[in-house]
């Protein structure tokens, strides 16, 4: 018998299924748990889930029905025109825990995510700054302004990209940039 103490497992269709910790589960936890541990979910029985991408779970939300619920289920077998709106909603809530609107409700999580991203980016910037001061060796001599000037002059002498590119922008008669 498969038992799961916590967290997520691969379930249906190789998708990840997060089981709702559901009070109407058929098998209650038997041994004494620490107060924060949720009861073990029996993964070999059909499960209920609230998921936006996999709509119809393997079992209804409430499968232990009270007498009133049972009579409502009997009434459901007849014509649905005889059901009042409250009864229809009650039947829905027997089968499902959350509506799609409730599942899709917006949260403020994005602020936390973005904040965390910026905090780590900022910290990384500080690390890089420290490295620039204490770790980096001196720059190669090819970065000196004098060297760069001579490099540009040599590129112009060699006529680098004379049609549309580098040397095309230099006026060789007036010896200046166009």
């Amino acid at each position: 018998m498969l038992r799961l103490v916590s967290g997520r497992v691969s379930g249906l269709l190789a998708r990840r299924v997060t089981p709702a910790v559901c009070t109407s589960s058929a098998r209650p936890a038997s041994h004494g748990h620490a107060p924060d541990v949720s009861p073990a979910v029996d993964m070999s029985r059909p499960m209920y889930w609230d998921r936006r991408d996999v709509p119809l779970p393997d079992r209804p939300f409430r499968d232990e029905l009270s007498a009133g619920d049972k009579s409502l289920k009997e009434k459901e077998k007849g014509s649905w025109k005889q059901l009042s709106n409250e009864e229809k909603i009650a039947l829905y809530r027997l089968s499902f825990n959350q509506t799609y609107a409730e599942m899709k409700r917006p949260s403020a999580e994005w602020k936390t995510v973005l904040g965390g991203v910026f905090i780590f980016l900022g910290f990384t910037g500080l690390v890089v700054w420290w490295q620039r001061v204490y770790v980096y060796p001196p720059a190669p001599r090819t970065f000196d302004p004098e060297w760069q000037q001579k490099q540009v002059q040599r590129m112009l002498d060699m006529r680098v990209n004379p049609v549309e590119g580098f040397s095309a922008k230099w006026d060789y008669e007036k010896k200046q940039w166009k």
């Binding site: 649905w80 040599r154 002498d157 060699m158 006529r159 004379p162 049609v163 549309e164 095309a168 060789y172």
Partner: protein, 76 residues
């Protein structure tokens, strides 16, 4: 509350009939735009460059600048 049965077949075909002409038209437009904004001006730039190009003069200018190893500037 009896709803009409939704369309069950031909969904891909319908999507293709709608999107493929648009895709082909836009691709063609992109290609034509690229041709007339990039390749034609580039071809013209090269034509204009070589119309007035004197290879010997350019070579001598480069030689005098001292970039070649096979021929040194005429002074040395």
């Amino acid at each position: 509350m009896s709803l009409p049965k939704p369309v069950m077949r031909g969904l891909l075909g319908k999507r293709l009939r709608f999107h493929l002409p648009i895709a082909f038209t836009l691709s063609l437009a992109a290609a034509i735009a690229f041709k007339y904004t990039v390749t034609e001006p580039r071809k013209q730039a090269y034509a204009d460059f070589y119309k007035q190009y004197d290879a010997t003069k350019e070579f001598n200018a480069m030689r005098e600048a001292g970039i070649f190893e096979s021929v040194r500037p005429s002074g040395e």
